[in-house]
């Protein structure tokens, strides 16, 4: 079991954003977390990555308790994420965006950087190699020196995923990667996600607003509504669940 979320509750004042949320993921799984707007999906991500400390409950990664741990430390333990609204380093180049993710492994200290001495230059070269290899795998290697903010939308999404991969995670959290894409683009993106999961041996937790998009690639789906899990199971089971249909379509009991 790589990720274990136990009875997490997150409360903002009087508002309960997520209540009694539990989920455990095995290595190599791809789980979809779906639900209507405001269901609390991103809150779950923020609790897992340490942005929020949960009001109650616990999160552990590979048996290590990471509840409320600082986000950069969580990342170093092997959880990487993307954001619902793209958060690239817009005024930095494509390759610099990737290199930032490699910074925490840097061994050279500030004095090495002041003098750009041999020790530093050696590491810098290795970092650039790694970054270029990663960019090649997501087909962005021709744009290494472009400004990240000037890339087309789809490429920005791919770059954000690539930046997360550069931290060498075991678990990847993707927050609505298909937001703002048309159906054809979404399908292509899902294929891309499936591919990187295989290539990098990743465990992936994927938030998606539209159920259709994740149906094809998720082994399991968890459905959140108003902060509570209303259904979980295989895509087929979930899509037949009347509670899910009701949450999504707002069907009343009379209908």
């Amino acid at each position: 079991m790589i990720l274990n979320i136990q009875g997490v509750r997150k409360q903002f004042g009087g508002l309960v954003a997520v209540d009694d949320f539990s989920l455990s993921m095995e290595k190599g799984e791809l789980v979809g977390l779906i639900g209507p707007n405001g269901a609390g999906k991103t809150t779950v991500f923020n609790v897992v990555t340490g942005v929020y400390a949960p009001t109650r409950g616990a999160v552990s990664l590979d048996g290590t308790d990471i509840t409320g741990m600082r986000p950069d430390l969580v990342t170093r333990l092997g959880i990487a994420r993307t954001f619902q609204n793209i958060r690239l380093f817009a005024r930095m180049s494509v390759i610099e965006n990737i290199l930032v993710s490699l910074h925490w492994r840097l061994k050279a200290n500030v004095f090495d950087a002041f003098f750009l001495d041999r020790k530093y230059r050696h590491e810098e070269e290795a970092m650039r190699d790694t970054a270029l290899r990663l960019l090649a795998r997501v087909n962005l290697d021709k744009l290494t020196d472009s400004q990240a903010g000037s890339l087309p939308y789809g490429s920005q999404r791919r770059l954000e995923i690539c930046r997360a991969l550069a931290t060498e995670p075991n678990l990847l959290l993707l927050d609505e990667p298909a937001a703002g894409m048309n159906p054809a683009e979404s399908i292509e993106l899902m294929r891309f996600i499936k591919k990187i999961q295989r290539d990098f041996g990743l465990t992936i937790l994927l938030i998606e607003h539209q159920m259709r998009v994740v149906m094809g690639i998720s082994e399991r789906i968890v459905v959140l509504d108003h902060g509570v899990v209303i259904s979980r199971g295989t895509p087929e089971e979930v899509s037949r669940d009347p509670k899910v249909i009701q949450a999504y379509l707002g069907v009343t009991e009379h209908a």
Binding site: P71, F89, H103, L106, A113, E124
Partner: protein
């Protein structure tokens, strides 16, 4: 072959620079060549010191994206450390006639170079004391907190009379600095910061400026890097303050009020937040204009009428200039671009053929 040629060219350029500085500094008087006028040299000294200060402020405000307004306070610390460690014991005895100076410092004087480094270190260490609580704040709140800390430093300097001589200030700081010191400090600062910013640490700083949440999610320790940037910046502010103390030979707490921070901020914004060479360029422009614009503050006697100068009008002009820059040219002279040799060459190539056509 190719390498030796570039090396040779570089050595030639370096030699040229050394000769020009030596001439301007008056070092060639020995062989009968007079130096540049002392007024001009003084302005160049100020330009270089302002460049150091602006680059150091740019590191925190422009590259790391943290709005800090504590520069005057840090400069004051550096200036006082330099003054206290270089003024001769006899002068100290004369200065501290109201309250005697703290004993251990009375007879302590050190050579200028280690004093300058010490000024930077003391200021840097103090910046950690300020930074640990203040850097937990963001945006305007950080600006207000650092401004407050700078004011606290100034008030402490004004009131710990056994150490600082209070409001009387310190006079008789040995005028050690010359063009070698100031230009050398500016060049060292420029190259050290350029390297740092080109390195992985520089990228970490910029990522914090671009998006804190994302930077942290990519494993960047926000607090550590903000503090690092703050420390380096304050170290340089302390060195700049020390140079200034030796250039002016007289310091007092009133010098280090907020307008001093504002003046450095003006240079940084005018040069471009996130451009080192922009800071250097703007430091030269602003320092020169500060002197040039003295004409608006001086009275002018024409044959038919007298124009009275208005003291303080220079600052009005600079404030207006800053407002204009922020409204019409928010990225400053350079934005976040740098002046490079290759870039200058390309620009010249673009400009030169046009002239030929015109001729």
């Amino acid at each position: 072959m190719e390498l030796s040629r570039t090396l040779g060219r570089r050595a030639l350029v370096l030699l040229g620079i050394i000769l020009v500085v030596a001439w301007a500094n008056g070092d060639l008087k020995l062989i009968g060549i007079p130096g540049w006028g002392s007024y001009t040299v003084r302005i160049i000294n100020l330009c270089a010191i302002n460049a150091v200060l602006a680059m150091s402020m740019n590191l925190v405000n422009g590259f790391t994206g943290q709005f800090s307004l504590g520069h005057a306070g840090f400069m004051a610390l550096g200036a006082y450390v330099t003054a206290l460690l270089t003024i001769s014991p006899a002068t100290k005895e004369m200065l501290f006639f109201m309250v005697p100076l703290w004993k251990p410092l009375q007879n302590l004087t050190l050579p200028f170079a280690p004093v300058l480094v010490l000024s930077g270190l003391v200021t840097g260490l103090f910046s950690l004391v300020v930074g640990v609580p203040a850097l937990r704040l963001r945006g305007d709140y950080l600006g207000i907190a650092t401004l407050g800390f700078a004011e606290i430093i100034r008030l402490v300097l004004q009131n710990v009379r056994r150490l600082t001589n209070g409001a009387l200030g310190l006079k008789g700081v040995p005028p050690v600095v010359n063009l070698w010191w100031t230009l050398g400090a500016a060049a060292l600062t420029y190259f050290a910061l350029r390297n740092l910013l080109a390195s992985s640490y520089g990228r970490a700083f910029k990522s914090i400026r671009e998006n804190e949440t994302a930077a942290q999610a990519m494993g960047i320790d926000l607090f550590k890097h903000k503090l690092l940037s703050f420390f380096i910046s304050s170290f340089l502010a302390g060195v700049g303050g020390g140079l200034l103390a030796s250039l002016l030979t007289t310091i007092d707490p009133v010098m280090f009020k907020f307008p001093l921070t504002f003046q450095v901020l003006l240079i940084v914004v005018l040069g471009g937040m996130g451009s080192l060479s922009g800071s250097v360029l703007a430091a030269a422009i602003v320092t020169y204009l500060m002197e040039f614009l003295r004409i608006v503050e001086e009275p002018h006697y024409l044959s038919f009428m007298t124009i009275r100068g208005i003291p303080g009008l220079r600052m009005v002009i600079f404030s207006l200039a800053l407002v204009m820059v922020v409204i019409f040219y928010p990225r400053g002279l350079m934005g976040d671009n740098e002046i490079t040799l290759a870039g200058t060459g390309a620009l010249l190539k673009k400009l030169l053929p046009k002239r030929r056509v015109a001729a």
